[in-house]
Symmetry: D2
Subunit: 379 residues, 4 copies
């Protein structure tokens, strides 16, 4: 391994949960060193946070533009190599765009942008930049999700004819039934959260999980949202019929009012020869069903797993891996990509996933708005 990769962090200060997740993930494989950051729009808070996590404060900049400006003045071998964008959603696009334009590698939280249009602009910028762009669809980093991807790629399921993905959470349930409370949640305010709550925040994960694991491209969809109250303007629940071919169909189910559900992402993939079933909350168990054999349970770290899956497991079988491990595997993939200058290793979600995701979100909103009609995704 070469020297540690110089990492910059945008956002993620204070009590930010996503901040913890990214920092831990960056550390897990000893690949990164945080050298610069804008943790907070308030410079003082940013500095304080740097002290709290005990990193040097000299490159804690007052704002994003200053970070770019000052870093560009540094010699390439000292400059931040990759920036992680953990800011509020509307800042993802301008920050990512500017970073790409200046030749930084980018790790970006999802949603990649707030509109599909921005996503396509970013895609163009990325094509020119020739750098890594990684989108943190964290769940793709689990060893058993990678195992799914590799088994399907190897043809073990045969032709796939049905997919069924679910992402059920319940966290909005305690607030939505009270008019005052629901009016005060930023996630339910279109001005702050964009055009979609449920699809934009979690439905898109289910969509990505299908495309990441199967390699299938969804061609069209029909969505029906639930707002629960007339005065609520944001989808808090929705079901999406999907088609990936004339005879390849499926469904994406997503909810933020699925009472009592915590982080219920799950996927079932049915092919001619076999099926795979996986749930995020029990990430170390992958079920393989078939017509005539006993059900099989794959677990991480066993020699029967694929190379990509094993690569993401650091301890012997039976030592549970969690969400930090999943994100760490994405950071590991990015580190390798940067070092090998191979930007399409398949080890992490990329710009393409981001563009597809925004296309998906906008298409579901359009379908629902037009009365649940079929809407095509772009190729």
């Amino acid at each position: 391994m070469a020297k540690k990769i110089r990492l910059g962090i945008l956002g993620g200060g204070g009590d930010s949960l996503i901040g913890v997740l990214h920092r831990v993930a960056a550390h897990i494989n000893d690949n990164y060193e945080i050298v610069g950051a804008v943790f907070n729009p308030d410079h003082e808070k940013s500095i304080d946070f740097a002290k709290e996590i005990d990193i040097p404060t000299n490159r804690i900049y007052k704002d994003f533009d200053t970070l770019v400006e000052e870093e560009m003045k540094l010699p390439a071998e000292e400059r931040i190599q990759v920036c992680s964008i953990l800011t509020p959603n509307f800042l993802h696009f301008p920050m990512a765009k500017k970073l790409l334009d200046h030749g930084f590698h980018v790790i970006c939280e999802k949603p990649m942008t707030t509109t599909y249009e921005e996503a396509k602009i970013l895609e163009e910028a990325h094509k020119k930049a020739g750098v890594v762009f990684a989108l943190t669809h964290t769940y793709t980093g689990y060893p058993m999700v990678r195992q799914m991807r590799e088994m399907i790629k190897a043809g073990e399921l045969g032709k796939i004819h049905k997919v069924d993905a679910r992402y059920y959470q319940g966290w909005i349930n305690p607030v939505i039934h009270d008019p005052a409370k629901r009016a005060s949640v930023w996630r339910l305010d279109p001005k702050k959260a964009g055009i979609s709550s449920c699809m934009g925040d979690i439905g898109v994960h289910a969509f990505n999980m299908i495309e990441y694991t199967t390699g299938i491209k969804i061609k069209s969809l029909l969505a029906d949202f639930n707002y629960l109250y007339d005065d609520n303007q944001m989808d808090v629940d929705g079901t999406v019929l999907i088609r990936a071919g004339k005879h390849v169909k499926g469904v994406i189910r997503s909810s933020q009012v699925a009472t009592g559900e915590e982080n219920g992402l799950a996927i079932r993939i049915y092919g001619e020869k076999a099926a795979l079933v996986w749930e995020q909350e029990k990430p170390n168990y992958l079920y393989r069903l078939s017509d005539d054999e006993p059900i099989q349970i794959y677990k991480p770290g066993n020699a029967y797993n694929s190379k990509l899956s094993l690569d993401g497991t650091k301890l012997p079988a039976g030592h549970p891996e969690g969400i930090f491990d999943a994100m760490a595997n994405i950071y590991l993939g990015v580190a390798r990509a940067i070092r090998k200058q191979d930007y399409n290793s398949g080890e992490f979600p990329t710009m393409t996933d981001g563009v597809r995701g925004l296309n998906f979100i906008e298409a579901t909103v359009e379908s629902n708005k037009k009365g649940n009609v079929w809407v095509d995704l772009d190729e």
Copy 2:
């Protein structure tokens, strides 16, 4: 308990699995005696089967019409009181109609009829007859399904805003991919199996499970079917968006090509206050989720269960109950209804469930055919 109820059986001879299920269920609570039957269209085979299960052959009739004719000649206290209809689907309607018209109680396998029109005719006949009509949606007989129904009725979930039911099987997968095989399966032949395979056979169970447990009436639906091959005329998979009110929505997912799935009926019901989750293949575990408490698992036979649930459990907690127990509970409910002359005890699915079911099946076919449009169910 009074004398055993005199039971007649139509169909269910030879190796019939449904025959075993009904006979066992009838015996389990010592309520019924089989006194007459037409087990098979071939009279000789019918007689042989009676001998095989060692019941008297004197009332094994050559055909259904003879059964009705001869039984009507008997004094009321000797006559068959209730007939179980286990024949091929297209015979359900004429048999049930004639039995009702002659004042017999009826236990009928699903689908109740092959068309919604027939179902409505039967409903009229039933209104005039003043007898028990039970439809064997077997799964409603499980103690934990009854527990769901009672908990919801008691308001423990509050207002329900989302339902999600699934019925995934895989048994058509091994045949459908071979043109010769798929052409030879009776279930995929519209002439033999009616207008729908997947919705008619199992989707309707999921539909019934929602209405039975929640008391909600589904108002409209939008369905998308998958036929897998151009030359296959029957749905083998489908997803149905459902609405039971402006803000009460859900989905029914059903498949016969869900590779490797055996009998995967499952339901998730989300209300303001709590949620319930149940799976048919693990019928003795009912999960209750809520915003702020640990998940709770209800198991049969415990004193914390409702009266209706406990009524269906015969042994102490921890002795697993299976599908025979579920069907036996339906037969038990029918026996009580006959004895008490209380025909709407809520202990078993009735004519109303049958009519609703046919309405559902035809509506899904219509919605799919018209290009996935919303179709209303009748009130």
Copy 3:
């Protein structure tokens, strides 16, 4: 199938749970007809119960001796063929002995006798009688338990080196902590319940499960009991170290004060080549572990199962089987044995299991009493 087998029932009247279990099991495969009985020591109650379950009362005898006497007067082709003994434990031995001596087949609840000495006397009587003797270790009737037995017999696990069986219940917990209550439970009164509560009632099931599934004979044991209170004279919990060879060891754990446990019988069998794990409360899932393959889950009714396992499943895969099915399979085996006059078919536990069981129970009591020393079982 020939005519139904003529079944006599001893005990099991009124609200008896074991009575329900046996009657249902006898009915499930259409093999038996109850023709005679002494349901209750009170003749009137016995007659009333016969009326309640609507069977003829002419052969409901006033007591057991009369039953034997009167039945022996009947011609062989009318006489009771097999008697099920469901009476209190201390009656098992005299009834079974007399029935065997008179040439009746016997189905006997466990424990077979109250002492090992009685068990050996009964064994001698059985050898002379040349009839079926079945001991209802019900759990051996589950399809997946039979599958274990067949897989092990076929060598799929290789040489077995470790076994671990558990039977945890909690039903005595609510009473034992109150001196008055614990003094009033018949199960804890040595005069009524014999020398052991926990080992005699459930530990012996775990012991039998090991020997039934593996074919191994346990050679010696060392037991430590827990009485919980000084004034309680009966074991309510105990752990038993077992040896079946110099390098074949294991443990049996049993408790009636395992708070909150319902009917937690479970077994883990480890062999050189693979392992099997099964739990009674989830009887339709058998887990196979190995060094280098994914975990496999066997489920009933699939073609990959053994003949004996499939024989016990009546409906397609995915239809849960419960405790009634398990007992029904034992009754089915007995029916076949009687018809084929093959009394060692391996389809149900026999006299040998009963003798071994009593040897086990007494050996655990002896070991515990002597200060946890090793006690040999007879060969």
Copy 4:
């Protein structure tokens, strides 16, 4: 938070799995900085490894003694504050002893020492030193294990009367059946691995888990080991009867030849009022059983959990935590203890656990050797 704690690492270089685990854990909460190390007895390899993980090489010492000597020359505010001992077992004692004698805080892998005698010497040294000594019984760091501890401490189970802990692994199974292979495994060589394999390596974890969660002290034990082959000198499997009072009993089961098991640590604790059940491979699910309520499942990150449990969870409920999180919580506890100079916070296993563990290991060996007799543990 103050400045990062200066951490030294002994061992854990190259491909060491335990090295990864400790480094990740140290990083997770931004509390530690590795400032010095002897990763490997070969100084060059040690330096290379430092470069690989990109830390400064100036304090990578040629051996342990040099590390101590040189660090002691540094001013206190630059000196290593705490050392993690990840070396082979026989080095734990001399290293820990010397570190304590020089006033360093110590984090030590288990087994703490190779003999009970050493453990007691170390205990004395620790008493004099007035520093933190943490023993990495990693599994105690899981949020749900901490929840168990707190629930029991709060009296939610009432008086505990039975404990049952299991630690089953299968990794020695593939080698033990081949004479050549079993002779070449260091773990099975008493000269290299000490007096016990199975009890010393994993049985002691089960022992610690009981004492950590319940607060109970085990008073005496009786052990039976299995060596599988006459020429194998080390226990690869064993069962231990335990007593913590006249009426408080239990069992510890441990195996390295439990074919196909990965890392099967599990515990069941039964008290008068309720019971708790937990399994290491599904660490985020804690089951609470009781006499009369539904089973409850506790999951991390929910407000109903105890303070200590919640303290160990960094992301919202539903984001799975794994083994890294568990170890990170131990490191977090140590960091706090160092900063607060409160060395008995109860947030991590301590010297006392280490001493108890060695006492346990030696007692099991003694009991087995003497023919399975009861052996008392020291108070």
